[in-house]
Symmetry: C2
Subunit: 203 residues, 2 copies
DNA sequence: ACTCGACTAGATAGATCGCTCTAGCGGGTA
DNA sequence: TACCCGCTAGAGCGATCTATCTAGTCGAGT
């Protein structure tokens, strides 16, 4: 039993935040869609909407961060991994009716200047994504500085492309951003001596 | 006269949208800060909050779009223009207490799946920015396809960097995104246009 | 002087907001 | 049996939301 009500509330809230943001989502709406009793929200999240929001940001953010190894892992090399990532994101976005983009971007912008607690939560998530990508890029021979800069740029390009793609209902921005990242990744990898014993060098 | 009340309402609403989004901004708050009578909102904007929102998106978007020629115009060449753009954006963002980023990004994400009318307005603004940048890049010798792709990537990188910068209260994402764009711009221009002798780039 | 439309001014309606409160259910322990 | 406690269940509070309504002010045109 534990509390799958609590889990349902978290998942449903995450879906609503991704679609319509923090301020656009009411607690009444959440409990209705989660088929949970209203009081349970304040039992499981005594801190109210803010605590619920913080937990959703962290769990949904961590879940999305796992897509990084999930997509890059099976790919034959980093470049195709990167290309796949943006293309899969575009495909998933369209198939979801232009709803399933970044789970925390809308909330991040809403709270950046109005709620310190939630702002910190979103920042931690972004930092964890950047850290994951940085580690991956360092493994390919980039210097720590170059790797981090590139990792940040990858996340920026993705987030920005999500905004334009949802506004215009088109995959074009995600493809343009993906192409940019792949091209630049190619250039940087060529410049940084790939001393990998693992056979992964072409060109 | 066209009453400057109407103008004050537009400007104040734009400021609030940029800071806290559409759903986070109440009409009461707008009229209070704009020192305007409540009824005037519905006199000047009979369509209510939605019409007000649409007009704010379009006017603020057009105003922000004018920064493109304003920054790139006086620059000695395209690369320094691009570098300046991201650095000025970062500087302005920090000086405003991490509030003055994109005037419509928050609203764009909030309404993308919930309000067709406003979604279209945000898309028109993004399209106009892309069109402006595309034209500029074509003037530098890029093919129409390459120019548009690059223009989209520039906007994506900027928007995404704004999200991370506001969340983390740091200029780093804007610098990383700017560096990425400048590097890729350099590569594409070298392949497309006759190089202009102009000893400028360093760092 | 008089009218009329543009605009100001704010009270108020009706819905919804986040949240608190009490009551009851159900199963493990004594 | 009796008791506790994690959890469900929802009525209801005060605040706030968007929007409408009436009344008043002001200036230009006749």
């Amino acid at each position: 039993m534990a509390s799958d009500t609590r889990e349902r509330i978290l998942v449903t809230t995450a879906e609503h935040f991704r679609r319509q943001g923090y301020n656009g989502t009411g607690i009444k709406q959440i409990v209705e869609d989660a088929k949970a009793p209203f009081g349970s929200v304040y039992h499981h999240f005594p801190g109210g909407k803010e605590q619920l929001g913080a937990e959703v940001i962290r769990t949904a953010g961590a879940m999305y961060g796992e897509l990084l190894p999930a997509v890059f892992g099976p790919a034959p090399d980093l470049l195709t991994g990167a290309r796949d990532f943006y293309r899969l994101a575009a495909q998933h976005l369209e198939e979801s009716g232009w709803e399933d983009a970044c789970p925390i971007a809308t909330v991040a912008l809403e709270v950046a200047s109005t709620n310190e607690e939630l702002r910190k939560a979103t920042n931690e998530v972004f930092e964890s994504w950047v850290a994951g990508a940085t580690e991956m890029l360092e493994g390919e021979g980039l210097s720590p500085e170059a790797a981090r800069r590139m990792a940040i740029a990858m996340v920026c390009a993705l987030e920005g492309a999500f905004i334009l793609a949802r506004a215009g209902r088109t995959r074009e921005p995600l493809h343009a951003a993906g192409d940019l990242i792949v091209a630049q990744l190619e250039a940087e990898l060529a410049g940084a001596a790939p001393h990998r014993a693992n056979g992964s060098d072409e060109e």
